[in-house]
C-alpha cells in the first residue's frame, strides 16, 4: 500500500475532493487500469477483484453543462448530464473503461450514448433487475457472472473466488470505517461536520478501497484528537435524496445555521451501511448486497403486510437514522427528472412526518445558479424548526 507522507487526514480528503481523480491519475501513470462507473449500484468488488481500479464518475455543480447537450437530451437528470459533461470535457481522460448499472432511466437509457461517445476500450451494462424476489436474485447473479467473465476477457485473467472474497472483505472493512465515522456525528454538536464527511466520502470513491479506508481511518483519528471544536447550532439535519457528489449543498445548509448529522444518500449511508456477506459463492453475497440490502428508490420491494408496514420496509432506515442521530428536520433533496425518487416523494414525506420529523422538500437542478434560491428555503425551514 503506498503510504505517502501527508496524504492523510481532513486536509488530504479536502485535496482529493478538490482535485478529484488526482489519485487515479497517478496510478494510471504507474500502469494501473482505471474503470469509471456511475452510481453506488455498481458492484465495485468485482472490478477490484479483477485487479482494476474502480473510479466513481463525479459531476461538478460549479461547471455549467455545455458539452453534454450536444449528444444527450436535457430531459436526463441533471446529475447524469453533469457527469457526462465532465467526461466529455476530458476530466476523466484516464479511464480505460466504463461500467454502468441499470439503475434508473437517466442512467440506463443513456448507456449507448456513454458507450459510443467516450469510446473506451471497455464498456459494460449490468442489466440489474428491479425486483428483489427469488427469480430476480438468481437472474442478477447470472448477470454478475456475465460481468465477471466479461471483465476477465478484458484483463486476460480469471477472476478467482479468492480474489473476490478478498475484495469483499476490503470493502467491508471500508464500510465498517464509514460506520465508525458516522458515530462521530451522534454527539451534539457533532465532532465532524456534514461537509467534512461529504468531502471525505466523495474523495473515498475516487481511489483504491484500501487507500480510502486508510484515509477515513486517519480522519477519524484526527477528529477524535481535535475533540469537540464545532460550535453548537440549533438544528440537526438529515439529508435524504439520490446522489449528492458535490459539497455545495451540504455547505449551504451548514452555513445557514445547522449541522448535517445524517443522510440517506450516495455517497453516504445508503451506500456504506450494508456489507456484502462472504459466501461460498462470492457472487451470492455481492448480489444480496446490491439487490436487497441497498435501499434505493430504483429497487422495487414487494408489499408484505399492510401499507404502514410497507412504508416501514421501504423507509424504516430513515426513521432509525432520525432517532439514532437525534435529527430535528429532514431535507428531501431531489433532482428534477429523477424518476425513482420523484415518484417516492409523497410516500417518503408522509413517512418521515409520521415519525415526527418536519420535512423540507426541495427539487433542484444541480447547478450553482439555483443555490441562492435554495438558501432562503433552507433558512426558512430552520426558522420553522426553531419555532417548534
Amino acid at each position: 500500500m503506498p503510504e505517502e507522507a501527508g496524504s492523510r487526514g481532513l486536509a488530504a480528503a479536502d485535496r482529493y475532493y478538490e482535485d478529484y481523480g488526482s489519485r487515479v491519475r497517478e496510478l494510471k501513470k504507474q500502469g494501473k487500469q482505471i474503470i469509471g462507473y456511475l452510481c453506488a449500484l455498481t458492484p465495485v468488488e468485482i472490478i477490484a477483484a479483477a485487479g482494476l481500479v474502480p473510479f466513481r464518475i463525479k459531476g461538478d455543480v460549479n461547471e455549467p453543462i455545455t458539452k453534454a447537450d450536444t449528444e444527450m437530451e436535457t430531459i436526463v437528470c441533471p446529475l447524469v448530464r453533469s457527469w457526462f459533461d465532465m467526461s466529455l470535457k476530458g476530466k476523466y481522460e484516464f479511464l480505460d473503461g466504463i461500467v454502468i448499472p441499470h439503475a434508473c432511466d437517466s442512467i440506463s437509457t443513456t448507456y449507448n450514448v456513454w458507450k459510443n461517445t467516450l469510446n473506451l476500450p471497455y464498456s459494460h451494462l449490468i442489466n440489474m433487475p428491479h425486483s428483489t424476489d427469488g427469480p430476480s436474485l438468481k437472474f442478477y447473479k447470472a448477470l454478475l457472472n456475465t460481468f465477471r467473465t466479461s471483465l476477465s476477457k478484458f484483463t486476460g485473467k480469471e477472476i478467482s473466488d479468492q480474489s473476490l472474497n478478498q475484495a469483499i472483505s476490503l470493502y467491508n472493512q471500508n464500510r465498517a470505517k464509514v460506520r465508525e465515522l458516522y458515530e462521530l456525528r451522534k454527539a451534539s454538536p457533532p465532532l465532524i461536520s456534514g461537509a467534512e464527511v461529504a468531502k471525505l466520502l466523495i474523495a473515498s470513491v475516487s481511489m483504491p478501497v484500501e487507500e480510502a479506508t486508510l484515509l477515513i481511518d486517519s480522519v477519524i483519528k484526527e477528529v477524535k484528537q481535535r475533540g469537540g471544536v464545532l460550535a453548537a447550532k440549533p438544528a440537526r439535519i438529515m439529508v435524504v435524496g439520490a446522489e449528492v457528489d458535490d459539497v455545495t449543498f451540504i455547505d449551504l445548509i451548514e452555513d445557514s445555521g445547522a449541522w448535517v448529522v445524517a443522510d440517506d444518500l450516495c455517497p453516504g449511508a445508503r451506500e456504506f451501511f450494508d456489507d456484502a456477506d462472504v459466501t461460498a459463492d462470492p457472487i451470492e453475497g455481492i448480489a444480496e448486497r446490491y439487490l436487497r440490502k441497498i435501499k434505493c428508490g430504483r429497487t422495487f420491494r414487494e408489499k408484505k403486510g399492510d401499507y404502514d408496514d410497507y412504508l416501514e420496509e421501504r423507509f424504516g432506515h430513515i426513521g432509525r437514522f432520525i432517532k439514532d442521530f437525534k435529527v430535528d428536520g429532514v431535507v428531501l433533496y431531489i433532482y428534477k427528472y429523477c424518476d425513482p425518487y420523484g415518484f417516492d416523494v409523497p410516500a417518503m414525506k408522509s413517512y418521515i412526518e409520521s415519525v415526527g420529523a418536519p420535512v423540507l422538500y426541495l427539487e433542484d437542478e444541480y447547478s450553482m445558479s439555483t443555490i441562492g434560491r435554495l438558501r432562503t428555503r433552507i433558512q426558512a425551514f430552520l426558522e420553522v424548526l426553531g419555532s417548534k
Binding site: 455549467p64 455545455t66 458539452k67 447537450d69 450536444t70 445558479s369 441562492g372
Partner: protein, 261 residues
C-alpha cells in the same frame, strides 16, 4: 427592370429590402412596436422611398418573420429558415453554418453549397436565451443598444449573474451597478451567458466552416467576439446583419418572378 421586395416583420425589428432583380437597391430597419400591420406598411414605404419607387412598381413581395402574416400586401410568406439561408448564401456563398440571433429565438442552421438550409435548431422560448435579453439589459443600464458591443469589450472583470431569468436579471443588474460594478463588466458577463447557450446549439448541430453570424444580435460586437472566443473560430459578419432574412425573402421573390416569368 423588375423590382422585388422582401420584408421581415421580426419580434423586435422590422426590415424591408428592395431589389432590382438580384441587386439590393434599398433597405430599411425600424422597431416593430406593437402594431405589426402598421409597421409592415411603414417599413416597406420607407424602403420604397429610398429606392424612389412605390408599391405598384414591385413585381413580387415575400414576407417572413414572426409577424409575416401582418404584411397583408405581400404576395406570399416564407419560413425564416429558408429566407435566412438564402440571405446568408447571397452574402457569403462559402458559409456552411449560420447563427441568427433574433429577438425571440436564436437559430443555428446548416447550409449546402446551393444556399439551402439542410438542418437547423431553435433555442428555447425563454427570454434569457434570446437577443431580447440584450435589449432588456441595455435599457436598465441606460445604454443605447448600438453601444453595448463596443462598451463590453472594455471589460476586465466579467460579472456573472445569479439568476437565469431575464426579468430578474434586470433587477440584479441594477443592484450590481449600485454595488459599484462597471457597466462593461455586466455586459461582458451577459455576453458570456448568451454565447455559452449559442455555442451549445452550434455544437449540437455540428459546425462546418465558414460560419456566419446574422440577426440583430450580430450587431453586438461584444457578443460576436464572445461566441468566436467560445467556438475558437472567426465568424463572417455582414455589414448589416439585421436585414439578412428580409434579403432572403426578396431573393425568394426574385426566384418566383424569374422562374415564373
Amino acid at each position: 427592370m423588375v423590382y422585388v421586395a422582401g420584408i421581415d416583420i421580426g419580434s423586435a425589428f422590422s426590415k424591408a429590402v428592395i431589389m432590382a432583380e438580384n441587386e439590393i437597391i434599398a433597405y430599411e430597419v425600424m422597431p416593430s412596436g406593437g402594431n405589426y400591420k402598421l409597421t409592415a406598411e411603414q417599413v416597406i414605404e420607407e424602403a420604397l422611398t429610398k429606392a424612389g419607387l412605390s408599391l405598384k412598381d414591385i413585381a413580387y413581395t415575400v414576407a417572413t418573420g414572426y409577424g409575416a402574416a401582418s404584411a397583408s400586401f405581400s404576395s406570399e410568406t416564407a419560413s425564416d429558415i429558408s429566407c435566412l439561408a438564402r440571405g446568408v448564401y447571397y452574402l457569403f456563398p462559402a458559409a456552411r453554418t449560420a447563427i441568427d440571433i433574433g429577438g425571440q429565438f436564436t437559430r443555428v442552421l446548416k447550409l449546402n453549397n446551393r444556399g439551402r438550409a439542410t438542418a437547423f435548431l431553435l433555442s428555447e422560448k425563454c427570454a434569457a436565451g434570446s437577443g431580447r435579453f440584450l435589449q432588456v439589459i441595455a435599457r436598465v443600464l441606460q445604454i443605447d443598444l448600438e453601444d453595448i458591443g463596443e462598451l463590453s469589450l472594455k471589460s476586465k472583470n466579467r460579472v456573472s449573474f445569479n439568476t437565469g431569468c431575464a426579468v430578474f436579471a434586470e433587477s440584479e443588474a441594477v443592484s450590481r451597478i449600485a454595488e459599484g460594478a462597471a457597466k462593461e463588466d455586466i455586459l461582458a458577463g451577459l455576453h458570456r451567458t448568451l454565447a455559452a447557450k449559442i455555442q451549445t446549439m452550434v455544437a449540437r448541430l455540428g459546425i462546418e466552416p465558414d460560419c456566419a453570424v446574422v440577426g440583430g444580435g450580430a450587431k453586438d460586437i461584444g457578443l460576436v467576439k464572445s461566441i468566436e472566443e467560445g467556438l475558437g473560430c472567426r465568424l463572417l459578419l455582414p455589414e448589416e446583419p439585421r436585414i439578412v432574412a428580409a434579403l432572403g425573402a426578396a431573393l425568394v421573390a426574385w426566384e418566383k418572378v424569374s422562374k415564373g416569368g
